[in-house]
């Protein structure tokens, strides 16, 4: 009916899709997104953009003799006229899929979000109103100082509305901003990087970051060649975040019980309860962590090893994955919690590592007799799931520390290391601070980590890359 064209508000679209459902159960997720970005290279802007997106995901569940099936269909740019075909497509997908192994009763009882009927939040290029001129100023300073700046600033806002046939009406607004700044010498033989995550670009200043990078490029004026080997190494918070994010991706309870992850115990069972670190480490996620806020309920657009569409709307509690150095939780859906007999521990939208350390990275450098200070890690990939051996490279500055001082820049290295082993060998953790994971910032930006001191980090070979 053409009259339905007047439905444009996300909550109305959710309600209408639920009304149209003829399945045994239905979950509707409306994502309204906006973004603005600036990208630059060699002290000049290269590309930019503003976008709007609208995606509706319909999850139909169909009961049958052998179990309940689910069908998931998503469409962008949905108008009211598209709703009925979309709902029918999800229902057809469910009927064609066969019983879903993760089938559960749809969630009930999560209190409705008070702003469910409000308009979506939105960002625009206005978010850069103060930042863009400051960036131009940073370009000018860099040019005067003999530096080239490369980087990317991105801000996005997604308002997610979740409605279910069991009565849930939930909404979450997720702002997500990142700033990455890379400074190079004009001959590109020296390179330094800094990154920040931000919710609104009010707390980041590119001229301040450029000044930090100028210092690091200065450190790099003295070059020191070191061979491959094991070195005492200070991993900065961004590097720790990248390694532990990967560890969490490998922390699905079901896989561990099945004997196919680093958290499987030889002979059966899991390593839950095992001491992973001599340090009093706490690795946790908390939707309400200040400055790192994430969705307080499950939003699952598809099922996978650590997510289930049937869990949509389930409250996400604060979870301590490692407690006092011991493996405390593995991730579960309601289905895999039932399979494994473990506690329900759905997903994570942020990650916080804390060992009670109080030293800043500078203070850890000052307390180093001889060691390497990394800037960040790059191209991290899994080599062996049994040990969670990861490979990757150092990037944008490896510095040699002697007697508490940075004395020069070392060549880059390829590393082969397992984060689980690193936690067991870490001899010191610094102060936990908000950080931007360099490698995974496309997907995961909300992290707070300390720097870690590793007595024998495995630099497997030398990389000539700068």
């Amino acid at each position: 009916m053409s009259s339905t064209n007047r439905i444009t508000k996300p909550h109305e679209i959710v309600e209408r899709a639920l009304e149209l459902s003829t399945a045994d159960g239905c979950v509707v997720i409306a994502d309204e997104g906006s973004s603005a970005n600036l990208r630059w290279a060699g002290n000049a802007l290269t590309t930019n953009g503003v976008t709007r997106s609208r995606t509706l995901t319909v999850i139909a569940t169909v009961d049958g003799k052998e179990g309940t099936a689910s069908g998931v269909v998503s469409r962008s740019a949905v108008t009211a006229d598209d709703l009925e075909p979309l709902v029918r497509a999800a229902e057809a997908a469910a009927r064609g899929a066969g019983p879903a192994e993760d089938a559960q009763r749809l969630v009930t009882g999560t209190p409705a979000s008070p702003d469910f009927t409000d308009a979506p939040a939105e960002t625009s290029s206005a978010v850069f109103a103060d930042f863009a001129p400051a960036l131009g100023e940073a370009f000018a300073r860099a040019r005067e100082g003999g530096r080239e700046l490369y980087g990317f600033a991105n801000h996005e806002l997604v308002s997610t509305y979740v409605g279910t046939s069991t009565g849930l009406r939930l909404r979450h607004d997720q702002p997500n901003g990142t700033l990455e700044l890379n400074a190079k010498s004009p001959d590109r033989q020296r390179s330094a990087w800094a990154g920040r995550s931000t919710r609104d670009f009010k707390d980041v200043d590119p001229t301040v970051l450029d000044a930090e990078l100028a210092v690091r490029l200065g450190w790099a004026e003295r070059k020191i060649d070191l061979p491959a080997g094991r070195y005492e190494t200070l991993l900065p918070p961004t590097a720790v975040a990248d390694l532990l994010i990967y560890q969490m991706w490998s922390a699905a309870a079901r896989d561990a019980v099945e004997g196919r992850t680093v958290f499987s115990k030889p002979g059966g069972g899991t390593r839950l309860g095992e001491k992973l670190s001599e340090l009093p480490l706490s690795l946790r996620s908390d939707p309400n962590a200040p400055g790192l806020e994430s969705a307080p309920f499950v939003i699952a657009h598809s099922s996978g090893d650590d997510a289930s569409v049937f869990d949509n709307g389930l409250p996400v509690p604060a979870t301590e994955w490692i407690a006092d150095g011991h493996l405390n939780r593995l991730s579960t859906t309601r289905h895999t919690a039932g399979l494994t007999g473990m506690q329900l521990s759905p997903g994570f939208g942020n990650l916080i590592l804390d060992a009670g350390g109080e030293k800043s990275l500078d203070e850890m450098v000052a307390a180093t007799e001889r060691g390497l200070l990394l800037t960040c890690l790059w191209y991290i990939r899994e080599v062996d799931p049994a040990t969670l051996l990861l490979t990757g490279l150092t990037r944008d500055g490896v510095y040699l520390v002697e007697n508490g001082q940075v004395v020069g820049e070392v060549n880059n290295f390829r590393f082969n290391e397992s984060p689980v082993d690193l936690l067991s060998r870490a001899s010191e953790a610094g102060r936990t601070e908000k950080t931007l994971p360099r490698e995974w910032s496309d997907w995961f930006t909300r992290a707070a980590m300390p720097a870690l001191r590793i007595p024998d980090f495995n630099m497997s070979s030398v990389s000539k890359g700068v």
Binding site: E258, L389, T391, L393, K464
Partner: protein, 520 residues
């Protein structure tokens, strides 16, 4: 002409039309509204791109449905050059007013860029290389059966059957199965008069068998080596890959791998199968010959390249038998198109000739900037919400026309390893230092395979590795490998790309033992 079955190249015998629902969208009207607004606001160049991309996945775990999705992304983008600066905006409302508004936003972004450029004291201006006008052109990729026209139940049943076959074998504890399929429609129009309508289909089935030793806790896996392909459902039913044969072999290969000895680290001669070599080509040649990277436009993210522009026609990339092409025309290639996202017609060209760097991958801006003349058609955006960036063509190592079989290449090795299938990959930001693993590593002794090895990784520097290539196999060993998920740019974009190659023999390559690397 929209809806026609006319072709430029790369067609099979099965004719298709542009999807009727896509063709029925107000493509031209929206483009006209956007381009007219951009012109009225003073844009020197404007292009409009409307895309509909349907992507679906089906996953089975131990032969049971374990999640799937079916996502359609529909929207449009306007990109302008205004006042010498880029501006880009995208939208989803399919009305002329909305399209015009998005064009206004793109111009506003260009003005914002100009402000920053001015504040920085720069005089850089965006200019584009000339391209002939291609008016009302249509191109459709080579496939027989649109996978989205096959009932989901049939897909699930086939994957379940394949999974069950593997699960029934001794020693197979678990099986993961997945199928990805994409149907992409794209309409492009620009202020020069080019307009193109295209349709592409691609598919990627994959099965992994897992073995677990309950006593020792050791586990390992063996994955199919069938590459993703620019084909339709026929790829799963006998065209382009022998699934029955591959599935039959996997349990035995996995059992042998579980019993295999750990490799002794050291230097070995390698015969690398196309199922592994494609990824080494992708990382060490494909990305390294992207000229935007070499010039620094990816420096902060994906990195730069050791193959800098000053080394064109000089850099000794590898041994004299090394010949590599960039190709956007290869049949069933994942990066094969009729026209790129700047309206440039697809081409094929040399990147490495007789071991020397002789070419790069280009888009229109980079082609103009470097004085290389015409773009070779490597602009691509993975969605209507993203700006086109210079992305990889199908980059392929050419076989020796009279070259040896894989068996004969192995026959020329006294002590070495035959590497099959890809697994782990990583390379540095200038594409020097890489480390790769694989699915299967076979010991070679006196020219014969002598059982599998475990815990193997090969590590090298790009030019050393390609310099050590002593022989490339013949056309009978050539396979078009590839991936759906090549990442690049900020905001991050993924692109599908194929890499063809023969088997090849490399001498004296560094082999690591990954267990020792883990300190065990």
């Amino acid at each position: 002409m929209i809806g026609a079955t006319g072709s430029d190249h790369g067609r099979t015998s099965v004719p298709h039309s542009i999807d009727a629902a896509f063709a029925a969208l107000p493509l031209r009207a929206l483009a006209d509204a956007a381009l007219a607004r951009a012109r009225a606001l003073g844009a020197e160049h404007a292009d409009f791109r409307l895309e509909r991309i349907r992507s679906a996945s089906w996953r089975l775990r131990d032969a049971k449905p374990a999640g799937g999705s079916d996502t359609t992304d529909l929207g449009y983008a306007v990109r302008v050059v205004h006042g010498g600066s880029w501006g880009f905006a995208s939208g989803v409302d399919l009305t002329m007013d909305a399209a015009a508004k998005v064009a206004s936003q793109a111009v506003a972004m260009a003005k914002l860029s100009a402000q920053v450029i001015k504040a920085a004291g720069s005089d850089e201006r965006v200019e584009l290389a000339d391209e002939p006008v291609h008016a009302d052109r249509t191109w459709i990729s080579a496939y027989d059966v649109n996978p989205f026209e096959v009932p989901d139940a049939e897909k699930a049943a086939l994957l379940a059957d394949w999974s069950a076959r593997l699960l029934a074998a001794d020693g197979v504890a678990h099986v993961d199965a997945s199928l990805l399929a994409v149907h992409e429609n794209k309409f492009y129009a620009d202020t020069a008069g080019t307009s193109t309508t295209q349709q592409r289909v691609r598919i990627h089935p994959q099965l992994t068998a897992v073995a677990v030793n309950g006593t020792t806790g050791e586990f390992d896996s063996m994955r199919t080596i069938a590459p993703p392909a620019g084909r339709g459902w026929e790829y799963l039913t006998g065209t382009g890959w022998d699934w029955n044969s591959e599935l039959e072999q996997i349990p035995g290969l996995l059992a042998e791998k579980m019993r295999a000895p750990s490799v002794e680290a050291g230097r070995y001669d390698l015969v690398v199968d196309p199922s592994n070599l494609w990824l080494t080509i992708h990382e060490s040649i494909g990305h390294a010959t992207e000229l935007d990277r070499a010039l620094g436009y990816e420096a902060a993210y994906a990195g730069t390249s050791f193959a800098t522009f000053d080394q064109l026609n000089k850099l000794k990339y590898g041994s004299p038998i090394m010949n590599v092409t960039g190709d956007r025309t290869a049949e069933h290639g994942l990066a094969t198109v009729g026209f790129d996202d700047e309206g440039v017609q697809a081409q094929s060209w040399d990147l490495v000739k007789d071991g020397t760097l002789v070419g790069y991958q280009l888009d229109r801006r980079i082609a103009k900037l470097t004085g290389l003349g015409r773009s070779n058609g490597c602009a691509f955006a993975d969605s209507p919400g993203h700006v086109p960036v210079q992305r990889m063509a199908n980059v392929s190592l050419q076989p020796d026309p009279g070259g040896l079989s894989t068996e004969d290449l192995i026959g020329g090795v006294e002590r070495g390893i035959y590497v099959v299938g890809d697994r782990s990959w990583s390379i540095d930001m200038q594409r020097y230092n890489f480390q790769f693993t694989g699915q299967r590593f076979f010991r070679i002794e006196n020219g014969r395979l002598a059982g599998q090895l475990r815990d193997v990784a090969y590590q090298a520097t790009t030019t050393d590795f390609w310099g050590s290539m002593e022989k490339v196999g013949g056309p009978q060993t050539y396979v078009l490998g590839g991936a759906f998920n090549c990442g690049k740019a900020q905001p991050g974009q993924v692109a599908a790309v194929s890499h063809g190659c023969p088997s090849a023999l490399f001498r004296d390559v560094n082999i690591l033992n990954t267990t020792q690397e883990a300190g065990r």
